[in-house]
């Protein structure tokens, strides 16, 4: 029952928020329902329910390994959202608040979906629900970004639907009775028709990869992250992408059961490395620090898919990375949002010396940058090291070398941009603009908390979390 609550509670909240009259008090729905959701999630996390194998929806190990991170990230972003929406009080926030909560509900559904169709529906519902959030600023640039997000994402939707059809037909052709729960598909295993499975894998990888933002399907990301409010960016990067990732993981387990695991792994590894390389090259040149975050997110999606390509240990490491990257990226997005608001521009060309204008946000931004580039003792360091170790254990020496090389290039790019905007003497225009922005506790504490979580996650990874990741890995890769 509780797993349904995870979905229903936020949706109810969304409905209430939509009905709520006051623009000033409506934002409080976000933290309240976020908190409720966190409580529910962690209650389920501590004592996980038994999931019936034929259930279409369930808090199974995979959901247990990822959903808490999303919920936590959402709560903190929600807390930030209250003060953010107070700053943006000139904009009506009815749609914004309602859809954010709706997204939380749909994310819970997507993470818990154990049925091909349900998973697809949830994922795409999230995609569509995110659309109005992207053009919250209602600038032409925002609409352009939304348009691209919509059509590229829509293509992704279409392809993943086609992929789902193919997988369904594979089961049908293999004598299945049309039961599309992952349990059934996995059970059918080698009975699935090989050509259809492979076609389905390619289509689903591209479709959900578009949503994850793997290169070369990442093109919507910089525009969307660059134009959307940073809180939306944080939730997209830390929440929505993870749904697509878990989708790929679930499909991967079916393909593995069908005996095509090695091909799937090869494709995952290659597309991951390619994404990292592309992202690193973009990072070397980009001059916009919000787009920079988008490319960094592409890079980390690459890391995730590389982890997924490395079997059990790699998947556990990747799930660890989902947590560490999501939380750290959140801190980066929120502090970047502060800097963006204070500076009035996201471009290195006009933003300088923010360490003098917004010292706290700048400090968080720099720390977050170091954290996300695997500086110990923050979370990403440990998770990426686990990925590296898994890769080496799997004998992927060359891939590891490329992986490290891309990390290095990305580090060059990120430090270049970050110190470019933090150092130096601010321009007078920036100075004037920054007068209107106050670093209140409301906009400083949430990113700080995220950084703290990332640190805690790295240094004192709770045994129960490791156990949850390992359980998820065994769920996807049952030990032969």
């Amino acid at each position: 029952m509780n797993q349904f609550l995870l979905i229903i509670v936020p949706l109810v909240g969304a409905a209430l928020a939509a009905a709520w009259p006051s623009n000033r008090t409506r934002p409080w729905f976000l933290p309240v329902f976020g908190l409720l959701h966190v409580v529910l999630t962690f209650w389920l996390f501590i004592n996980p329910p038994v999931v019936a194998p034929e259930a279409w929806l369930g808090f199974d190990p995979l959901a247990r390994a990822v959903l808490p991170a999303v919920s936590l990230l959402f709560l903190i972003c929600a807390a930030y959202g209250v003060s953010y929406l107070r700053i943006r009080s000139e904009r009506p926030n009815r749609v914004f608040v309602a859809l954010l909560l709706a997204i939380l509900g749909l994310l819970s559904a997507g993470h818990q979906a154990r049925h091909l169709g349900l998973l697809w529906i949830a994922t795409e519902a999230v995609t569509l629900a995110a659309v109005p959030l992207l053009h919250f600023n209602a600038t032409p640039r925002a609409f352009e970004a939304t348009w691209k997000y919509l059509l590229v994402g829509g293509t992704g939707i279409a392809l993943s639907l086609l992929g789902s059809f193919c997988l369904g037909y594979a089961s049908l052709h293999g004598g299945g009775v049309g039961d599309l729960t992952f349990t059934a598909l996995t059970a059918q295993g080698a009975g699935l028709s090989r050509p259809w499975v492979l076609t389905a894998w390619v289509l689903l990888l591209v479709g959900y990869g578009t949503k994850m933002g793997l290169a070369p399907m990442h093109t919507w990301k910089p525009d969307a992250y660059g134009e959307a409010p940073s809180i939306v960016g944080a939730i997209l990067a830390g929440g929505v992408t993870t749904v697509a990732f878990t989708a790929i993981l679930r499909v991967r387990s079916v393909v593995g059961a069908a005996g095509e695991g090695h091909i799937a792994d090869r494709t995952l590894l290659l597309i991951g490395l390619f994404s990292m390389l592309v992202a690193a090259l973009f990072l070397l040149g980009t001059r916009d620090f919000k787009r920079m975050l988008a490319y960094s997110s592409v890079e980390h999606m690459g890391i995730l898919s590389i982890g997924a390509a490395l079997g059990g240990a790699g998947v556990a490491a990747a799930l660890f990375h989902v947590w560490s990257n999501g939380l750290t990226k959140g801190a980066l997005f929120l502090s970047a949002g502060n800097i963006r608001r204070a500076a009035g521009s996201p471009s290195m060309d006009d933003v300088r010396g923010m360490s003098l204008l917004t010292p706290r946000s700048a400090a968080i931004f720099v720390t977050g940058m170091f954290a996300v580039t695997a500086l110990p003792p923050f979370g990403p360091f440990f998770s990426e090291l686990q990925v590296i170790r898994a890769a080496l254990a799997a004998g992927q020496g060359v891939a590891t070398a490329m992986f490290l090389g891309c990390l290095l290039l990305a580090f060059f790019g990120l430090t270049r941009v970050v110190f470019g905007i933090v150092d130096g003497r601010p321009r007078p225009t920036t100075r004037a603009n920054a007068q209107r922005f106050v670093e209140t506790a409301g906009v400083i504490v949430p990113p700080l908390v995220l950084l703290g979580l990332s640190l805690w996650l790295g240094l004192f990874t709770p045994a129960i979390l490791r156990e949850a990741w390992a359980a998820a890995a065994t769920q996807l890769f049952p030990a032969p």
């Binding site: 293509t155 390619v202 095509e260 110990p376 590891t400 003497r425």
Partner: protein, 649 residues
């Protein structure tokens, strides 16, 4: 007290310093000195005692149990860290004082404590994961120290270059430790010489630590970082921080099996760094850059010793290997002492004149007698001249090389060229420091700033005196330090442990002492004779030229001209000259700049290519939706082909 107790005291006081540094400079100094003293106590108690100190935690950090270990090797480096760190802290309070740098002084104090703490951790930790953590913290705190004065663009550039290079090294270390963990199945570090399968890992470690150590082709970050950092930071960077790279090489060449070629490569690298590093130093005009390049040379000397020791491990006998390694380890201390002293001296010159260009200085000995004397002493030490400490360690390395050559094995092929290159490096070092001392302190002031310099205060003088004292003591009584070095050598290779000095260090020390006495006696006597016979002051002989001016003095460029001519192939100096024309030439210009060859001539083009690639890739994100969808289709097709090819059994 046990080393453990002392170390925990040290850690506590450093943390207290880290906290208090933001507000109270005096308290910070007290805590830092306390930390340094206790740390030094711990190091010495291990070095003079017989047993290593080891501690395993009950709790786990990052999924691993904390495992600390202080043995001979790490204790040697720890002692150096404590001495230089403490001295630098004292120096910093006057040099980077609150009233001069209200903004950055507090930050500087905190990062200083952080740096000392993290380096201490690097030296004591014996678990791969935690080693990486401490290593990165150390790298980052050094980075923030370098860019203390971050309002200046060149400082920022130098800091970024350091960060980038250091991260490149760290990436190698990621690979190294992960491979180690993957092969051994745990992050635990310790002696595993018998697992010969691990030997190839040494190369990755060499690359990773070599960057930090500033070995010649990998030294690109070092000159600008040392030159642009505040001088006390340059001192600890050059005196201790780059030694962390040396520590890594020594440590893991001692714990892991080394490949057969390791000795050759390390010796070769060392010899190259020694010769080319000092050649670059001699060509510099910026005296802090000169010191920085000189650090490259000294790391080279250290590596020659280490390489000879590795040669002895692979083919050869322990006797000369032990000598070379002892020389190398002692040189780690010596270089730490005199290079920190020299950087402090440079700092007080910078403090007094505000310029790093030797061609704008001169004649400072009148206004800054203390600095002059101490700098001269440091120069004698760094040039490896008797009777100071520089010679002692170089002498040990030389003996190791000579014995290797005499032993006639294949190692001789490496030892003899190394010895010759070491000799040339020594001569060049002497030349460089004759030049530096002369250009800065002697002759006539070349500019107004040089004419109106002022001596540094006691706060900066005291640490210099301490370090100078250390140089003298090691020089005059090297035998006192032999047990320490022998202990370290013993913990590098237990088979090599020995207590009695295999070389007449006593004799060397007494000769040094006698020399010191005689020298001062002779100087005094000559001085007296001069006064007895009558002493007049007159103009310098100017060959009858009527109006000599300070600008007619030999400049640093002209002094180094001959040698930089010999090394033009690597120095590649850029010249801008206008020859004098006609009978009464109006003006003639000759400007010479020595570029960072490796950086500008090799890395520059490479990174240009990468940037080119990046910009051409970025052009794909041109905002046209149609193409974005095309990319999706392309991805679809590519993956489809991949699966088709992969699907083919």
């Amino acid at each position: 007290m046990t080393p453990g107790a002392l170390l925990s005291l040290a850690a506590i006081s450093l943390v207290a310093g880290l906290v208090s540094g933001l507000w109270f400079s005096r308290t910070w100094l007290a805590f830092t000195l306390a930390g340094a003293a206790t740390g030094l106590g711990a190091a010495l108690s291990v070095l003079l005692g017989a047993t290593d100190w080891e501690w395993r935690s009950a709790f786990s950090l990052g999924g691993e149990f904390v495992h600390l270990r202080l043995d001979g090797v790490s204790a040697m480096f720890l002692a150096l860290l404590c001495v230089v760190g403490g001295a630098g802290a004292v120096y910093a309070r006057e040099y980077w004082s609150e009233e001069h740098y209200p903004a950055s002084a507090p930050r500087g104090r905190c990062w200083w404590s952080a740096l000392m703490l993290s380096m201490g951790l690097v030296l004591t930790i014996s678990n791969g994961l935690h080693f990486l953590i401490a290593w990165e913290l150390f790298a980052v705190s050094a980075f923030f120290l370098i860019r203390l004065d971050r309002q200046r663009p060149e400082v920022r550039a130098a800091g970024w270059l350091y960060l980038a290079a250091s991260h490149a090294g760290t990436v190698c270390l990621f690979a190294f430790f992960s491979l180690l963990a993957a092969r051994t199945g745990s992050w635990e570090l310790g002696p595993m010489r018998e697992q010969t399968a691990l030997a190839p890992l040494f190369w990755i470690a060499l690359a990773g630590f070599g960057v930090k150590a500033g070995v010649f082709p990998l030294h690109v970050w070092l000159p600008s970082a040392h030159a642009n950092a505040p001088s006390h930071v340059s001192a600890i960077m050059s005196g201790v921080a780059i030694k962390m790279g040396v520590y890594g090489i020594v440590r893991f060449s001692g714990w892991l099996p080394v490949p057969h070629a390791a000795g050759w490569v390390v010796t070769g690298l060392g010899a190259t760094s020694a010769l080319l590093g000092i050649a670059f130093a001699f060509a510099q005009n910026d005296f802090k850059r000169l010191l920085a390049y000189c650090s490259v040379e000294n790391v080279g000397i250290i590596l020659i010793g280490v390489g000879a020791a590795l040669l002895a491990v692979t083919h050869g006998d322990a006797t000369w290997g032990r000598l070379a390694l002892a020389g190398a380890l002692l040189h780690v201390w010596n270089h730490g002492a005199f290079k920190a002293l020299l950087f402090f001296g440079a700092g007080s010159v910078l403090h007094a004149t505000g310029t790093r260009e030797m061609s704008k200085l001169g004649g400072l000995w009148r206004t800054m007698p203390w600095t002059t004397g101490l700098f001269a002493l440091g120069s004698i030490a760094v040039s490896g001249l008797p009777p100071l400490n520089g010679l002692v360690s170089e002498w040990l390395v030389y003996l190791g090389l000579f014995d290797a050559a005499v032993s006639g094995g294949p190692a001789a092929w490496a030892a003899m060229p190394a010895a010759i290159m070491l000799a040339m490096a020594g001569a060049l070092a002497m030349a460089s420091f004759a030049k530096a001392g002369a250009m800065i302190f002697l002759g006539a002031p070349r500019t107004q700033v040089a004419a109106h310099a002022h001596e540094c205060g006691m706060g900066m003088r005291a640490p210099m005196l301490t370090l100078a004292g250390l140089c003298v003591v090691i020089g005059l009584a090297p035998i006192l330090f032999w047990p320490v070095v022998a202990r370290a050598v013993g913990s590098w290779r237990p088979a090599w442990v020995t207590m009695e000095a295999p070389v007449p260090l006593v004799t060397l020390g007494s000769v040094h002492a006698g020399l010191a006495v005689l020298v001062s006696a002779a100087a005094a006597w000559l001085w007296r004779m001069a006064h007895v016979n009558g002493l007049r002051r007159g103009l310098t002989w100017d060959c009858g030229y009527a109006t000599p001016s300070a600008r007619m003095q030999y400049t640093s460029a002209s002094f180094g001209g001959i040698v930089s001519g010999w090394f033009r192939w690597v120095l590649q100096p850029e010249r801008k000259m206008r020859r004098p024309r006609g009978h009464f030439p109006a003006e003639a210009i000759r400007l010479e700049r020595v570029p960072e060859t490796v950086l500008e001539r090799i890395l520059g083009p490479v990174s240009a290519v990468v940037i080119q690639a990046s910009s051409s890739v970025r052009r794909l994100q041109h905002g046209r939706l149609q193409f974005y969808i095309l990319y999706v289709v392309a991805g679809l097709i590519a993956l489809g082909l991949l699966v088709l090819l992969g699907g083919a059994p």
